[in-house]
Symmetry: D2
Subunit: 270 residues, 4 copies
């Protein structure tokens, strides 16, 4: 009897229909980041109880727009580029667990379903959104340059509500594109029981991160960031901006090839 | 320490950001169905090994377009209707498990992320797609009537590839809108381990179905159905049409309020 | 030599590619309307100089959401419904020209390109937008009823900025769904010269309206309306709400089959 | 009395709502081109009678995907990038008029309404479509390089029907990215009378082209191109591929600032 194939749903005899193919997954893109401080109490409130605040700058937040092209091993996605290109806008804080400092994504919107699927597997709390970020072209004047004065805009909306606007104006090359998203991620993966109120069938803490990073020169500069809430999405209220730390632009390549289980509270018998 | 809330991701202190709020979920809509026969070997091949073919008409398939408006208990979604309205196109076969006949969805595309989230929780193998179905209006001539000769079109595409076209021409009132999707659903819910190749952390067989059905008069008639494959989605190759059984239209209301665990093969320690 | 065919662009030997086929065009749908008063000075400011304010209630404005299914004579669009269904949200004021009172659309967003094309031909100042309005279903609880207490929401956004929110709560059957959009339309059609600064090659005032109206019972009730501006679209600033007059819901069918030239200021030699 | 402002609709007191602001318009982007030969009879058939075939290679066709970021003089669009970025896929042939050889766009799909508006002003027969083209990133492996062997995919769909697929594999730097789209454009601009069957109120032949071209190095190579028809769009049937000539990639910047009237057949009195 033929075994069904497919890393994620749907499984078929060939496995071709899977919303996400087998790892590894490869990414080329750009990151536009705004880092800011909020009151650490807000970060504390968005972390599950078992996690602690980071020791230094516990109120630091990174809001990142990633403009990705991605593919799996055979790179077939690159030739049907609607299946390869997407944007994501996400919010990262830091936390501490058993003495180790981690980064943790607490909100994220992406533009394609395959990216949602990858994210749920990885513990990213992904939803669909409409994200845009200014691109860099090498010719003409309808583009910023990666140079002092280069100005980038970025926006996010979901369900037709504008949720975030950012502007980053580059000043100079810097060592890194921020410090908040610089650790291994510590993420929760859970699936509620199909029985109402019974708890979670799956409930894991996992850690993961990219490998084979191929990094361009980071640029830093000034940033503006406006956050909004809608009826369906919270940003301004959960991690309000107290003080902008800076803005960054960087071209990056990275590979994702899985992670490690950290703790398990699953109850698969429900 | 505040406890995070949210039925599904992301969790926040208020729970408002959850991609899906708590059950129950309420649905009002229309179903356009084409039922057909394929070779039972194709149905066998798309079922996991532990399931058996149904005893009668094991090669029967239902291709269903649902045009939904849905909401949760406070009905807030109805007043921001982008958050409430969506379409889905899905393929249902039947199967047998421990002597009981079930319906099972083997492929499904929806137009909104909250519908993906609900589906993954329920074991529907949901992806995003672009689904359309002719609507019924009560005035003017740019509409079919729910009457003999009423003609409905329905289409599905994903990643800019057309995957299905259907036409249903109504003939007469009938007792039900098909028999394939008439049992409790038997669905698989699984989440691969974050460790590559380690198997599934969650792996359940669950059953579920709607409650409080509020059904309109079913109409039956003739149907045409074209299925296609793309590089990313299989329809024509996995469940090819051998013989059309009929087409149906029905207005329906239904509530979803969870299901029951049937079998568990999870390994949350990976 | 074959003559090219096509009511609007692109023309081809068959005419099949035209973004809009030949008239007549048929529409079935629903209208959700909020009527309100603004200061007549705002209406005056949004009218071209050659038009006058209406004699009575010159500050009256109608904000209308239309949820359409439309087709041309062979009704082929109905069977590929993505080509048939669209929404539009539009703002209508009244004006007077040579002693006759007209309705005039001063802002409109639609969800499909064929609707933009029809609109530009008709003098509607159409742009793309994302419009949503609560639908009525006959079964289940995720729907308002066309009855006292029935509550409808409607929203508009463009370029990811929310531009309008409305809620209409039905009270009782009424004679008509408002008075602002009840006259023949008086619209401007113009095309700037391809030479910068040279003026308009086409510059006409035309009148038009639907024919063969097939109207359902109008319902009236209370309404709320919020308007916003974005960087690209003006609503709150051009026709601010002073006083809500009422809200309406009506199912309608209508046919469009052209109009009449009223005045011409074209200069096609530029 | 305040004069209304707005290059194109809608006009308002400020002019801010215009779907397109005043020229000049600035573009930065990339062009992926496939040139091929069709039977010149097909080119003849898609030209209006008053135009002649080009003298040399009259059956040559260019299918071009452009991935644009564009803005007007104040560059505000660049900071709300959803208003700035779009793709277009278009088909260009050549023709001769009064002894001069021109390029002429006979089919074009774009992803934003402002691009439709600019196009109709310019005589491009624009419709909405979904266009995608592989992008070049400087880091990681999920990207082609602008180098021998670099492989680019491009696709087009409209109304959920796939219309074109292309693959270009770069070989070497070349002098230009094709010859078909290398002349001034000769375009038709027309608006039918609002009176059915009365002819065209506006009917002009105009010429236009970009200025201030800032061109990157052109790369040439091998190409594949598949064309399809849908019920609403003709490609395979109007300009079928007989022989592929080559494929090209080039980064470009350009400015558009109007054109010149060539011939007028308008009848604004209808």
């Amino acid at each position: 009897m033929s075994k069904l194939k497919g890393f994620m749903a749907p499984k078929t005899p060939t496995g071709k229909s899977a919303i996400v193919p087998d790892m590894p997954w490869f990414y080329s893109g750009t990151l536009l980041t705004v880092e800011y401080l909020t009151d650490p109490a807000y970060v504390r409130a968005i972390l599950p109880p078992e996690l602690e605040l980071a020791d230094e700058q516990p109120g630091a937040v990174a809001f990142i727009w990633a403009d990705w092209q991605s593919c799996s091993t055979d790179k077939a996605e690159l030739l049907d580029p609607i299946r390869s290109q997407y944007l994501e806008a996400f919010v990262v804080v830091r936390c501490k667990y058993e003495g180790v400092t981690y980064s943790r994504c607490v909100a994220i919107w992406v533009t394609k379903d395959f990216a949602i699927a990858r994210g749920w597997f990885q513990g990213y709390p992904k939803k669909l959104g409409s994200a845009h970020v200014t691109r860099v072209f090498n010719h003409g004047v309808a583009t910023p340059k990666v140079a002092a004065g280069g100005k980038f805009g970025a926006t996010l909306s979901a369900y037709d509500h504008r949720l975030a606007n950012a502007i980053v104006t580059l000043k100079e090359p810097v060592d890194s594109n921020g410090f908040v998203n610089g650790h291994k991620m510590l993420h929760s993966r859970w699936v509620p029981s199909i029985t109402p109120g019974a708890g979670n069938s799956l409930d894991q803490l996992i850690t993961m991160g990219g490998v084979d990073a191929d990094l361009g020169q980071a640029w830093g500069g000034d940033a503006e960031l406006e956050l909004f809430d809608s009826q369906w999405d919270e940003l301004a209220s959960i991690l309000p901006v107290e003080k902008i730390l800076g803005g960054y632009f960087r071209e990056v390549g990275v590979t994702f090839n899985g992670g490690t289980l950290v703790a398990d509270n699953s109850n698969p018998s429900i």
